[in-house]
Amino acid sequence: MMKNSIQRYPGESKWHGLLYLLPAFVVYALFTLIPIVETLRSSFFEWSDLGKTSRWIGLGNYLSLLKDASFLKAFSNNLIFIFFYSFIPIMLGLFLASLLSRKRIPGLTFFRTLLFLPQVISMVVVGVIWRWMFNPAFGPVNLFLSAVGLSHWQQAWLGSFEWALPAVGSIGTWVQYGFCMVLFLAGMQRIPEDYYEASSLDGANSVQQFFSITIPSLKAEIGVALITTIIAALRVFDLVYATTKGGPGESTLVTGYLIYRSAILNNQIGYGAAMAVMLSLVLLTLSQVIQKLMSGNEEEIG
């Protein structure tokens, strides 16, 4: 069907259309393709003299990576971040979206905008704001806890070995849930009102409706939300850079920050490149798997 829809003027070359892609392709190649290939190439070398000389070491960088405790720690932190960046925001997004779409709430647009706001603020600004929020000396988080009589829950959030990772993670939740919510809200507007009407005539309550109508209809949206938020969790750099720089100890170290530290600060270009390649491979695989899972047979509602 698609094949027939492309129409060509008689005598027009088959490659003519590609010419129009050229400007965009040049930009894409220059700033995306070439850097990717260069990174891949760099990862097989050991670089010295700030990149002037290099020595082929094959998979050497990759082998040392697997033995590097810092890298493994950073990567496992990334996996924990998936919980905060993806799982909670999607749950929260579903919950808020169903609230906002089903009930008539006065000032709906206002609330929707308010809840989406964190998504549009630059990550570095978010980091700076939350550093103050979590500040033990004057931060609102601890002030709030003491105001409601929970002073014994007060923490040096970002500097605590137990709490720094959940604290940074929850900033991620705060940023991501608005995006999920708006995505789901848009999806819900697609669901025909008849489904809900029919099911309530059959005696279904709103919880049953949520699980049998809303969730299955939102499969595509949930897939998109999963992919974007998981990617965000795995490639996080700015937030950690702006809040903890991986500390205390290595408790909030993430792969993105480790790449920056190795390649840019400590001049280990090949090693940093190898890490970047590994991270990209994991990202690619994960998003492929999610896409496969989510594009399976569209479940019928009935």
Partner: protein, 441 residues
């Protein structure tokens, strides 16, 4: 179709023209020999500092007709990231500030990016401007491997000393005086805590300043030879020593006794400084660079003293010279660039820095009219004292390329109660031993 094709070609032509313009804009009239442009990158972005550089640059241009200085200011993080690549380019900066230590200056010397300054050292008589101990901080062997000896690669305009800032108002109110021994200092901490005042304002969230808290105590326990050996990676010293453990132990005790700001692991350096400036906390341990900030915009009165030595032992303090100016090896104007360096460490520069409240690395002219009966004067006195006593220590994080990261992480573990002082020194020694082994390969 035709229209689109036309637009496409127009687009091409315009972009080629723009690219050509960009090229020609980079070399304004330098061919005809009328104007020489000296490109300088520095990291003096704070307003008080930037004003000093602007003044010096304007005076340099005035004294050298036909020379134009094209200044680019970056914050240190940005400068560190870009300058390594820029100095390798034939149109990179002629003069740039290059951070000391192995991963910056050392790496750049190894990559043959910096001009050795030994000839200019002779020509301008810089030996009279700064001591050999200062020069060695900006020196590397030509292969970039051995720190602290060999060629001179940079000259530093400013100096730094880490000591104790104290709130004079709080001290006066309670009748406390400046301690003269470390034992006195420890007693004072107890007294201040008893009054429900934070003895030492501190925040370790940013990590690096914890190195200073630890190392300030360490400097009172070890010899100056040890600190030199450790920093320059010579004579095979170890980090896992009794003295370093004791320093870590004292730091841990301070933290456990509540001498630091409540919740200090979650407070950043600047936030902690702002609290101290606002009168929260009797003292804070940091570098003299904090002085200009404490001299304006506050109604509190602050003083500065060196962390005093154990009774009967000398007082050594972390200190040194600020980030040096270096010259790109392939510059077209090496002599002019060297003259610029000489200008930046002139008596005039010393005076301007002093007026701004920053310690100059050079001595002030005899007839100076700079006010010294203030906080700046107290930091100057401390700097002069350690210089006279040959007690200028080091930033120990220069010792290995990864020492900074290791020290920050291990100190956070120590203060977080995850590691003991013995664990701390052992973990840091592991990094140091690896480095020595790599170096001697």
């Amino acid at each position: 179709m035709k229209k689109l094709r036309l637009i496409f070609f127009l687009f091409l032509i315009i972009s080629i023209a723009l690219a050509a313009c960009g090229k020609s804009l980079q070399n304004p009239a330098s061919q005809d020999g009328k104007a020489t442009t000296l490109v300088v990158w520095d990291q003096f972005y704070r307003p008080e500092e930037s004003a000093v550089i602007e003044t010096l640059n304007a005076e340099f241009e005035e004294a050298h007709p036909g020379v134009k200085i094209q200044r680019e200011v970056k914050v240190l993080d940005d400068l560190k990231m870009t300058v390594k690549l820029a100095l390798a380019e034939s149109d990179g900066p002629d003069v740039a500030q290059v951070n000391q230590g192995r991963s910056d200056m050392g790496a750049m010397v190894a990559a043959d990016l910096l001009l050795p300054l030994n000839d200019y050292l002779q020509k301008f008589g810089w030996a009279k401007v700064f001591s050999t101990s200062v020069a060695s901080r900006n020196s590397f062997t030509a292969d970039g491997m051995t720190f602290g000896q060999g060629n001179l690669y940079g000259v530093s305009p400013t100096a730094e000393v880490v000591g104790v800032f104290y709130n004079k108002g709080i001290f006066k109110e309670h009748g406390w005086s400046v301690p003269t021994t470390f034992e006195d200092f420890q007693d004072l901490l107890v007294k201040i805590k008893a009054e429900n005042i934070t003895p030492i304002a501190f925040g370790s969230l940013d990590g690096w300043n914890a190195i200073h808290e630890f190392s300030a105590i360490q400097h009172l326990l070890v010899s100056s030879d040890y600190i030199n050996n450790l920093t320059y990676g010579v004579n095979n010293v170890s980090f896992d020593t009794e003295e370093n453990q004791k320093a870590a132990q004292i730091l841990l005790e301070w933290s456990q006794a509540g001498y630091f700001t409540d919740g200090f692991p979650g407070i950043g350096y600047d936030d902690s400084n702002n609290n101290f400036k606002a009168g929260q906390g009797a003292m804070t341990i940091t570098g003299s660079w904090f002085a200009p900030e404490l001299m304006t915009g506050t109604d509190q009165d602050f003083g500065f003293f060196l962390l005093p030595g154990f009774s009967g032992k000398p007082t050594m303090a972390i200190g040194g010279v600020g980030i040096p100016y270096a010259i790109r090896k392939t510059t077209q104007h090496p002599d002019l660039a060297a003259e610029y360096l000489n200008w930046m460490i002139s008596p005039r520069a010393a005076e301007l820095w002093a007026k701004a409240g920053m310690l100059p690395a050079m001595s002030l002219p005899e007839d100076t009219k700079v006010k010294t009966d203030n906080l700046f004067g107290e930091t100057l006195y401390a700097w002069d004292t350690i210089n006279k006593n040959n007690a200028v220590g080091h930033y120990i994080d220069w010792a290995t390329p990864t020492f900074y990261d290791t020290l920050v992480a291990e100190l956070q573990k120590l203060l977080g109660g995850i590691a003991t002082p013995a664990d701390f020194t052992a973990a840091v020694q592991e990094d140091y031993a690896n480095f020595l082994q790599e170096q001697n390969k």
